[in-house]
Symmetry: C2
Subunit: 389 residues, 2 copies
């Protein structure tokens, strides 16, 4: 038996307990585990539902069961754990933690939407007339949501600079990131039935970090009128640990004031945002610290909007916030904003940089307040750029 050591300042203490899917050394079949300190505990010792390569079967069991299991996990890891169920986090391989059903990407940061509006449409008002009335969003490609650590091959596609008369084909020259927060739907809702904003806690299982890789040149040429497509669909990376919503009580904060008041279906009894502090590291250097608390639209408003037309939601649906950007320059969550469309390079390890070069590595991390002044970690979403094929 093993007693798991949890350093007092660990970001993965008993107040966190995120779930992930891992392979033990030499084991062929992935299963669900929980992270505690620097250990991963195999949860099949609790329930066979965890003998699966994704969290979906457990998430389908619903909110009551999530609460029960969380209590059981706290009890399990607070006492001696069978040796065979405990692994060092450095010894296991981490996989995609859930099977993505539909993937939706929102655009919920006023700072990001305003910056992108200025950059993509310099001659118009930066915010569209609809932006403060509804959380603007669109569907992305579920099949290319990949786990942290997956290498990202630079995408090729059609690009046309304003000065070109026709488009050319080739590797993206403006490869970018978007630092986002993603919400994982645990229990779905049926065809034709909207989910109320106040039902968020019942429905949403947990939170991951998202890097929504973006080829800005491909996107700029293709996106009118039906929205981003190939500029985004080549890859979206997520962090391997799903932090349960149940661990984020202390991280809840008020959302910024919303003016005009949203329509009634977007109102919450107790509006809340999340006080996540993100970090964006570019080749090891932190270049931005986007504050999630600045996001205009709340997570519950996004879910209510996404289903208000009766759209089905399913276990494994992932909806992401859109780029998290704060008001300050060093709080911007995309390089196109940080470098103002490439015109204002930033210094990374002593070099002036704009968009991503082959070999670059980006790591997005986050922490949030836990109980009694502690902090909770989200781990990281990491990805390295490989040359175009």
């Amino acid at each position: 038996m093993t007693r798991i050591a949890i350093p007092e300042d660990s970001l993965f203490g008993l107040a966190n307990l995120p779930y992930g899917v891992f392979s033990a050394p030499g084991a062929a079949v992935p299963r669900v585990g929980v992270r505690v300190g620097e250990s991963v505990v195999d949860l099949t010792v609790l329930d066979d539902v965890f003998a699966a390569p994704s969290l979906n079967p457990f998430m389908e069991q619903g909110h009551t069961r999530w609460v029960e299991v969380r209590e059981q996990v706290i009890e399990l890891v607070s006492d001696d754990v069978p040796d065979a169920a405990v692994y060092s986090v450095d010894a296991v391989a981490l996989h995609m933690p859930f099977e993505v059903a539909d993937y939706v990407d929102f655009y919920a940061s006023e700072h990001h939407a305003s910056n992108l509006g200025r950059l993509f449409r310099p001659d118009s008002e930066p915010l569209m007339p609809n932006w403060k009335h509804l959380p603007v969003g669109y569907h992305g490609r579920a099949g290319t949501v990949v786990p942290s650590g997956t290498d990202i091959v630079r995408p090729s596609g059609q690009r046309k600079a304003p000065s070109d008369t026709t488009p050319t084909f080739g590797p993206s020259r403006r490869l970018d990131i978007e630092a986002e927060v993603g919400f994982v739907v645990g229990t779905g809702s049926s065809f034709g039935t909207p989910v109320s904003a106040d039902d968020f806690d019942e429905r949403v299982f947990g939170v991951v970090l998202v890097n929504d890789w973006s080829a800005r040149d491909i996107q700029a040429w293709e996106y009118v009128p039906l929205g981003p497509f190939l500029g985004k669909s080549f890859a979206t990376s997520v962090s391997p640990w799903v932090v349960p919503l149940l661990a984020l009580e202390a991280a809840r904060v008020a959302t910024p004031p919303q003016d005009p008041e949203p329509l009634p279906y977007l109102l919450e009894k107790n509006p809340w945002g999340l006080d996540l502090e993100l970090t964006v590291s570019w080749n090891g250097q932190v270049v931005s610290r986007p504050p999630y608390r600045e996001m205009y639209w709340s997570p519950a408003q996004m879910l209510a909007h996404m289903t208000v037309n009766g759209a089905t939601s399913r276990t494994g649906d992932l909806f992401a916030s859109g780029t998290v950007s704060g008001p300050a320059k060093d709080q911007r969550g995309a390089f196109i904003e940080l470098t103002w469309g490439g015109k204002e390079p930033i210094e990374v390890n002593g070099q002036p940089r704009t968009f991503l070069e082959d070999g670059d590595e980006v790591v997005i991390g986050a922490t949030a307040p836990g109980p009694s002044g502690s902090r909770i970690g989200f781990g990281e979403v990491r990805g390295r750029v490989l040359p175009a094929r």
Copy 2:
């Protein structure tokens, strides 16, 4: 034993043999069958892979196996078939024929794109500068792709007429259809690896009819800048029979001339379109006959474009053509075009009509040339509008 009668002029003769998922009377578990004349033959007599509630396991087996099984099916149904494997098509329940992985909707008709451009953006050029360079498309919601016969609850959402100062919430007042053709990916392609246009036949299993229900008022207010979202995501209906690509050799036709010549990755050795004749019936009256042969972008160009950035494709991916509209008014595949944004009502059963009213039923059907002057049927995709909840 039963010898299946196939009337000489049947749209479901030996040259067609579409696959679907059905429940026999009293049977709980759906399985895969093939349609022959007015019969459905249970294919579990051939292979256990058909004892599944979707075509996905069979499609995953790949092109060589699709060819083999097609030959086996022709042999099977040309001889006496065990009684227990034969059902009248009227006696069975038909289900969603495959599990949708990602759903993409293109915009491949020049007539449709031009008409919509004039209606949505009356002060600009109807076709965007990118339109003739790439097949414009976007991701839709896989979780709300539903089988023919599913009732469609009128969606509610935000709508704002140009004369309104703020949006209001309520049931869509401009509920519409889009008559489309959908392509079902049988074998996927891996992360980072584009699919060449010439590999279409290896990858794509078959063809379905699609009704991409559209709430034009919700769409008009939300779609800038990230594209259609809730105006489309409430429901997309597909026909229950997947017509194998192998049945459509005689239906191949040249595509319309493309000017300018597309970039090399969009070129095919033998460019081909499909000579499907669609019909759109509104409460029993045929109001439009959209000709698929008029589509500007070919099916193989859509697949090549969708994956050129390295996006993974998967078994069960559905990509639809976008509304099929021909040059003539009675060849338009959406009511917003047929009635010119509601300003030119058409007569349906003696009444002037614009958008869909509660209780309306829309049926989209299609046929295509088969061998030796015969015709092949696609069955139909049917849906009725229920009042908003």
